[in-house]
Symmetry: C2
Subunit: 346 residues, 2 copies
Amino acid sequence: MNITILFGGSSYEHEVSIVSAITMKKVLKQSTLQFVFVDTMRDFYLIDSEKMKSKFFSSGAYKKSKKLTLKKTGFFAEGMFGSKPIETDVVLNLIHGRDGEDGKIASLLGFYSVPFISPRTEASALSFNKLYTKCLAQSVGVKTVSYEHLNCNDARKITMPYPVIIKPVRLGSSIGLSVVKSPEELDYALDVAFEFDSDVIIEPFVENVKEFNQAGCLTDRWELSIIEEPEKEGFLDFEKKYMDFSRDAQVNEADIAESIRQEIQESFKKIYDPLFKGSIIRCDFFEIDGEIYLNEINPVPGSMANYLFEDFEAMVMRLSRNLPSEENIVIDYQYIHSIQSAKGKA
Amino acid sequence: MNITILFGGSSYEHEVSIVSAITMKKVLKQSTLQFVFVDTMRDFYLIDSEKMKSKFFSSGAYKKSKKLTLKKTGFFAEGMFGSKPIETDVVLNLIHGRDGEDGKIASLLGFYSVPFISPRTEASALSFNKLYTKCLAQSVGVKTVSYEHLNCNDARKITMPYPVIIKPVRLGSSIGLSVVKSPEELDYALDVAFEFDSDVIIEPFVENVKEFNQAGCLTDRWELSIIEEPEKEGFLDFEKKYMDFSRDAQVNEADIAESIRQEIQESFKKIYDPLFKGSIIRCDFFEIDGEIYLNEINPVPGSMANYLFEDFEAMVMRLSRNLPSEENIVIDYQYIHSIQSAKGKA
């Protein structure tokens, strides 16, 4: 299978997207890979596979690569003798954060009828925003922890007891996130969060909460990963969490009760189907007093959460053959014809 | 001002978008207009202003027009001597329904840094879906009427008393919508609605409910239209509602109490700011027992609701000078440099 890995983007997570893409080179060994880099100016470049090293991007050397244009059906290299398509079976969207997870890339690929693996526009817009993720979970009957919402113009008052956790609504990878233990620390934490976003959500910070990660997708069957209990040393910081993006070896399954496993899996399915069809996502759950709560949805998880699957590559191939198709809308101009008849003019 | 009117699209409302665009030609008299048509195959065409008649599209004659490519900064005509930009100050998105209102066009224009008037991706995805519109209203403290949600795979049971109104969650212009007076009629109405969408919402049908439409935008000031009480003869049907798309003369203001006017205006502002910055939207409200409820948001209203404004064209110009700007994300590759130092390799 010929897979185009799309990475980079105008995003705070631009750099980890490069790390994720390099990881894919190690993981997708049976496939023919094309690498398409979106730089911070949003120009598309075709990157030689042997150039897939982080320094090639950080040094700016990538700018000598072939520029591409996105048009109907895919990417094209423009040349002396016209446009030449970059042949591919499927595009794997690996852009984390803005562009990749907010629905822009999904819209571009969808509009131009390019087969792609990633959440579609609506699923992206909802899951990229932690506030709307709460609505989504509620609408399908999955519990989330209680929260308050503050806009940067709102009075800086919260009603829930400390400690709390403050999260910008639209960022991943723990960017702009703080644990606040007392009212005196609130102002500074909000200043930090509002540097990155106009809106934040505030949730209770539960010490020693158990976290479980479940990834998966729906191909011609449900393909659920093992459930991981990620390591936590106190609080995951930006840099440590980023190491996830280079993981390429399968991890150990969490040791959990069968009832908890089932509840996590059922919750994942409710979130996923039908909104996330065509994507591989990772949902992070909390277990509090034996109950499962959705913490967040990662619409484009670090290194595609490959380390949670036994045979990630075979699943990518099955998913590529089971992508959702957009409804075909036929326009017969009946309405315009009827106005023309009624008015006796066009 | 040089305005590009973008219309058509792969949408059930493709034909009324053509009607809306023709109306703009009558309304935007001071401006230089460019017309860019998106046909149902999603090819872009530059349409001569004098060809802006509905028959030009329904007959397929438009296919002889110049094809365009969307790239960074705007539309381009490809020719023998390279790409030539279509000069414009702003794109006015007039695609109703899919593509135009679901966030795809907003994503394309946003990604390529084209100045445009329309809701951005997130606002589009939320307001295009009647279920998520409820969440949005709730998150900003605007009331909506009670509802139930059914997916096409759910059991066909509802708990609210009849009569009810059934609406596909993602369609405008009353497409697929039914009033159901008794349980025996439910099945057929759901069959109709599920023809168009995987999800429906069910709301109580209140006879003789007063409906009020408020359009507006935020430029360097709030620009709220007059409030209209749209005419209703029983139930608005598809064809009648479509006539809205050709309206170009200012209508009369509804005769309402000052307190109701204020509540409608305050509700509009809560919905609009900041999510809908850069767009002209129309919100439709119900008045039930003296209380105001949001019925729906029209992210790309028929003929841009020009008929509700005293000087629509001057407002479009002010909005063009007050579009929201995307945050500039600077990538300094510090993270990759730090991994390189830590690992001693790239």
